[in-house]
Point group: C2
């Protein structure tokens, strides 16, 4: 088979687009700020322009594009290509597949962003040679993608892998964006780490965190992990608390799905071993022996490009290159 594919990582702030050959090697990239406020048509036109940009850069004729994969925030209908509702992109019930296919010659396939990232890590990152894995992204929220028998598992209506909203501690009075209480992402995301940092300082605790910002409200997840890396006790206490929740959540997923591998990505993992090691320890301690004994818990490998590489993987899976 000859030709190329395009991957598009459609985010609320930026659109990353890349042209790749059928081995998944990236030949050209484009990065644009998303015209999120200008509505669906402007975004569609931006994506089309970004595809023309990468084919132009690589000097490839558009007719040689075999498929376009688009990773975008959910909820969505993967088969039909509809984005139901994405507040920070101002897209509501938009059939992005049809809109793009009307302007392109190649078929377009959309995928939830966390699911696309899971595909990226499975085919080009930490999960190669693994058939059953869970990808977890921990940043402002917590998202996930489940790979079963080498394929993304979508569930009954493309909502599988909404792991950020499993309840980890129902006794905690922390409301989640979804309206529920004690959700994983409400108590263990980067956002939660930042909130715990600000709360600690407001409670009058002495911490290096205050030296890293000009005012309390600037404290975010990165501030806390930075202070913790510098042995700040208050920050270390927050990291311990949050990694405990992260470990419980991963142990639950390991008991339910018995994966070969759990791949952990997202901004919070920039803190490295400080996050990963406690998660491993808690899973070893809390999950059952059989699933805990077999699972590898590793860092994601693709970094900030995981979204666009995942979109490339989506395109390659759909045209049967990745099986």
């Amino acid at each position: 088979m000859e030709g190329y594919v395009v991957g598009v990582d459609l985010g609320g702030t930026k659109i990353l687009t890349a042209l790749a050959n059928l081995e998944g090697r990236i030949l050209a990239k484009s990065r644009q700020l998303t015209k999120a406020k200008e509505g669906p048509e402007a975004i569609i036109n931006q994506i089309v322009a970004s595809i023309e940009e990468v084919t132009g850069k690589a000097n490839i004729d558009n007719s040689k594009i075999r498929a376009v994969g688009v990773g975008c925030p959910g909820p969505l209908n993967v088969e039909k290509g509809i984005i139901y509702n994405t507040p920070n992109l101002n897209l509501k019930n938009v059939n992005i597949k049809e809109a793009l296919e009307a302007k392109l010659t190649a078929p377009v396939f959309i995928e939830n962003d966390a699911n696309a990232a899971a595909l990226g890590e499975k085919w080009f990152g930490a999960g190669q040679e693994r058939d059953n894995l869970i990808y977890i992204t921990i940043s402002t929220g917590i998202g996930g993608g489940i790979i079963i028998n080498r394929r993304l598992y979508h569930g009954a209506n493309d909502s599988a892998g909404e792991i950020g909203h499993i309840v980890i501690d129902p006794t905690l009075d922390v409301e989640c964006g979804c309206g529920d209480q004690g959700c994983w992402e409400a108590i263990a995301s980067g956002t939660a780490i930042g909130r715990l940092g600000r709360e600690a300082i407001k409670q009058g605790k002495q911490s290096k965190m205050t030296d890293l910002v000009s005012e309390i409200e600037e404290i975010d997840g990165a501030t806390v992990t930075k202070a913790a890396a510098n042995a700040d006790k208050v920050a270390l206490g927050i990291i311990e608390r949050v990694t405990n929740y992260l470990g419980i959540g991963v142990a639950n997923l390991v008991n339910i799905l018995n994966p070969e591998m759990v791949i952990i990505g997202g901004g919070v993992t920039k803190a490295g071993k400080m996050i990963l090691e406690p998660i491993r320890e808690i899973v070893a301690e809390r999950a059952l022996d059989a699933p805990a004994g077999v699972v590898e818990i590793v860092s994601a490998e693709l970094g900030d490009d995981v979204g666009v590489i995942g979109a490339i993987a989506k395109a390659l899976v759909e045209i049967g290159v990745l099986l």
Copy 2:
């Protein structure tokens, strides 16, 4: 295709065996008390004798048996046919597949009991026509089986679906048999309901439960649900507490796996709507709209025969009759 299959439900107290045709219709049954203390050979001989009993009853030649399915407690190696460790059967690292095949002409396939029950409900019970479902059994413990794309999902080493050991409330000081704290089965199984009943009476609470037993230690899950059905406030409070945990656990599974259907079986479900309705309400409230909107939460249909019917389904799946 012609012939018959046999299903064996191997439990700590009894062995249920049934002969079925290739449509899964049961033609003869056998029920024996398990000689659990007499060791592996006695159990193997019992199973063989029970198969001879059902073929004799139906007047079927043994050579017409196409496959034997055996549902048994785990952990086990499904492919090799090994039971690793089953305390209440006194089996340790026993290759039950090889041992039975040495005495039979048909191939033998083993399956974890909760997984076998999931197969039974999928093919002959509440889950027919569904491709993605979760079966949950709530009795002395909590177990589960996950069906994905019409097939049982086994995970990396046959441990998938160990949902009884997901942590639902890490703040609860209730130790589970697995050594962890706050596991679902430690706080929401029939055993947990009985324990909460005994604790309430020991704390001096007035309840109809005491009228149903001759001494406090006799109070079990059934006592509590019976008292609750008679509007006993203390018992109703226990049921409310436990169904809240049950609902949180099901909501978590719904968010993770986005199933078409959740089938709830096991002894506790004999309490009927008192258990099922609150679970449905909590899932509607706590799970995300998309997966909560699509999932049907229903009672298991196969009752006490679910194990042996599941073992029949296992045999029929393995020989390609059920696809």
